[in-house]
Symmetry: C2
Subunit: 448 residues, 2 copies
């Protein structure tokens, strides 16, 4: 090993000498160099066309493709473009994957949680759910209307909204259908498909209370209808207390405009509540004294109980967690050390604790929580584990700041039942079990 490194030293010393020359030639003054040298250096690497190619050639997976030199330290890299919006490496291939519904116009795609790091979800991999495709809206032509039981109806352009005081919040959005295939039996193979309908971004926008106060709530105002400007005209009713408490109208996501599939140019954020009520492409707010009983809160997004009654407006996403690595379809590379890591979150506030079991729930030990631990945000947990090579089951259990403990699947089904042709659908927040076989193969199982 020492010899190998010594050889390396000599090679690197040689390279540094060669590169010193290159560097002198490429040395950059701190102010504009003369046009001639600039053009020469461009010519030296293929001219302006090269710059254009650099910017234009992109894969469907969001990467700009460049030639791969045998040794990057012996070949100049690609030049910095005069204007650019960077892409990820051409070697990276994670993608959102679509659940094959009958039509891609009403469908969802899921975040590859197994590849995630930290708590922020890359905007390009944030899960999608839309009922009429992704709306394409020119922000300069978009308006938000506020009317109904208000003292003064109002209309806002995006420019108007951006003039108001703003807030930013790092928070998760989770579709209440996250895990809908997993009630009766373990159906999906990867954590992307069992849990990938949740993502975390830093959202920026205007407090909804600011906008509602501008119009003034009439006496008796109790509910708010939010309507999207997409082809589904998605509509949901929100209790006015929640609307005034901490909802906001987001135009920003992870430091730039919100992404088209997240409701560009305007989305209603309802912290801690099911994704569906975070209305995208928001165009209208109507205040009323009662809920509007839209399709999305009657035939859909309700929870059918064992006694045949259905719970409506079960909006809050309860505490939940999942181990993202090791997870379904991964293959452990033999006995030894592994860092177990995953995500925990709660619609009711901050995660207080995450416990991990490496023996199918017989014993639990506390995982480390990565700071910052923020309310209503994904929280990254980590747990050191040395695998002895025997078959076992890995689980995680979230406890939130209210003391609520993430239930086992058995405990959840005892309360919710398994109703309807598909079993239950929404708000599955049970503990996830990953089976580790002796050959290291990890699979999705139910373990009571």
């Amino acid at each position: 090993m020492t010899r190998l490194v010594d050889d390396l030293d000599q090679r690197l010393a040689r390279e540094r000498r060669e590169l010193a020359v290159k560097q002198r030639d490429a040395a950059s003054p701190y102010f504009r160099g003369d046009r001639r040298r600039f053009v020469q250096s461009l010519a030296a690497m293929g001219g302006v066309a090269a710059l254009a190619r650099t910017a234009a050639a992109q894969t469907p997976l969001g990467a700009t493709v460049h030639d791969v030199p045998p040794d990057a330290s012996k070949t100049p890299g690609y030049p910095l473009a005069d204007e650019s919006y960077g892409t990820r490496s051409q070697f990276e291939t994670e993608v959102r994957r679509r659940f094959k519904t009958a039509t891609p116009l009403s469908s969802w795609t899921m975040t590859p949680l197994e590849a995630g790091m930290g708590i922020v979800t890359p905007s390009g991999l944030h899960f999608e759910r839309s009922h009429g495709g992704t709306a394409v809206i020119d922000p300069t032509k978009h308006s938000l209307y506020v009317h109904g039981m208000v003292d003064e109806p109002r209309k806002y352009s995006m420019k108007d909204l951006r003039r108001f005081p703003s807030i930013s919040r790092i928070m998760f959005v989770e579709c209440s259908g996250n895990g809908l295939t997993e009630w009766s039996k373990p159906t999906m193979r990867t954590v992307q498909f069992t849990h990938g309908l949740t993502s975390t971004s830093e959202w920026t926008g205007v407090p909804l209370s600011t906008i509602l106060n501008e119009s003034g709530l009439a006496h008796g105002a109790k509910w708010l209808l939010a309507e999207g400007g997409d082809a589904a005209a998605m509509t949901r009713s929100i209790p006015i207390d929640k609307a005034m408490k901490d909802c906001f109208l987001a135009y920003g996501q992870n430091g730039e405009a919100i992404r088209p599939e997240q409701g560009y140019p305007l989305r209603l954020m309802v912290p801690g509540c099911e994704g569906n009520i975070n209305i995208k492409w928001l165009r209208r707010l109507e205040v009323s004294d009662e809920p509007f009983m839209t399709r999305e809160e009657t035939s859909k997004y309700t929870d059918l109980l064992p006694d045949g009654k259905a719970v409506q407006f079960s909006l809050v996403m309860e505490a939940k967690s999942v181990i993202t690595s090791p997870s379904g379809e991964m293959l452990l590379d033999g006995p030894g050390f592994y860092e177990i890591t995953g995500l925990a979150w709660s619609g009711r506030g901050a995660v207080r604790r995450v416990d991990v079991s490496t023996d199918g729930g017989r014993t639990w030990r506390r995982a480390a929580l990565q700071s910052p631990v923020l309310p209503v945000s994904h929280t990254r947990f980590r747990f050191p584990w040395t695998w002895d090579g025997n078959e076992t089951i890995l689980q995680s259990r979230c406890v939130d700041e209210t003391g609520y403990v993430q239930p086992t699947l058995g405990q959840l089904i005892a309360v919710r039942g398994l109703n309807g042709p598909l079993g239950s659908i929404y708000h599955l927040n049970a503990i996830q079990s990953w089976h580790v076989a002796r050959d290291g193969k990890v699979t999705n199982v139910h373990h009571y």
Copy 2:
């Protein structure tokens, strides 16, 4: 206004009736529909080719281009792709802009801070600085060598590094040359060019102490050389105490692999220290008992003082802040309310306070800090301001957790001087002044 909204109500009611039909047709079962319907629905929107186009057609500015319907609520949006990595809206045009150095192979591009929101910088807009272009490295072929004054030299593949326990940290990276054009006179017009060499991401990787402990530091080890695998073979010396304290080897940025221009596949993170020492494309670590005196810490990245002596290894980025809106080249739309907002940060820890002056520094009032306020991270501040229409100067002043107060330009020059042909170069952290004219035009000025 009421009439306008009533008309709107009727129109929307009509649309909802029409859309109810569309929705019924597009209604999605929760499990795979029959192939026939799926193909029909695809055909209805132009077939598989449409999906392909959706994924492939991208602008150089990182957006996928779609047709813009006159009314998005009357036309189905574009379908969700089976596999995707989302792009920003085609209506968004913010870009990193390059400072026109003599060659784009040794150059830098700057983050459009004026368009930023919250604290996270979109990865595609994170500033770039490279001395030999952006290296293209296949992560499966990349290695990190650790040698020198260690008990056992080691070599790691990326796969090896990912097996170690990891950490994540939301932190800024700032080039010590940020603002280099602004020492002697206000040169640049926008905050992108005066302050755009700083960005914040959530970074994930392995603590450097873990790797150094694996090799074991020999007695007398005091410095660490970090070397990049790019064509510049960028090298910097780091005090071993700092290396063991909180440095880490990052392979993740904002929830995915670090971007090529940030050092893919591996970057050394040195929290709070000048960007240049956060070595990108990291390939080698050499432990020694003295600094290596590389080009980047002798002829460059040193601070020349009035007495002719130069300070070396002035690594920490001191407390700094800047108002990003209103900022240079913006035009205020007449007297009235404006939210003043900007960023503050310190290499020594958390921001304790940000003061804002709207009268050229005569009076200062405390700005609101957006949570989370994290150490060594951009912190968003906001300050409500009603402009009376008179000419004035806007400034912000950061105080960090050590009590250090961001200096005025006069105070800084009194200590640092204005040396060399270009005046001083590095570590300009003075208070920025924005002049507001009676016509609302905002310009970059020096104000002592």
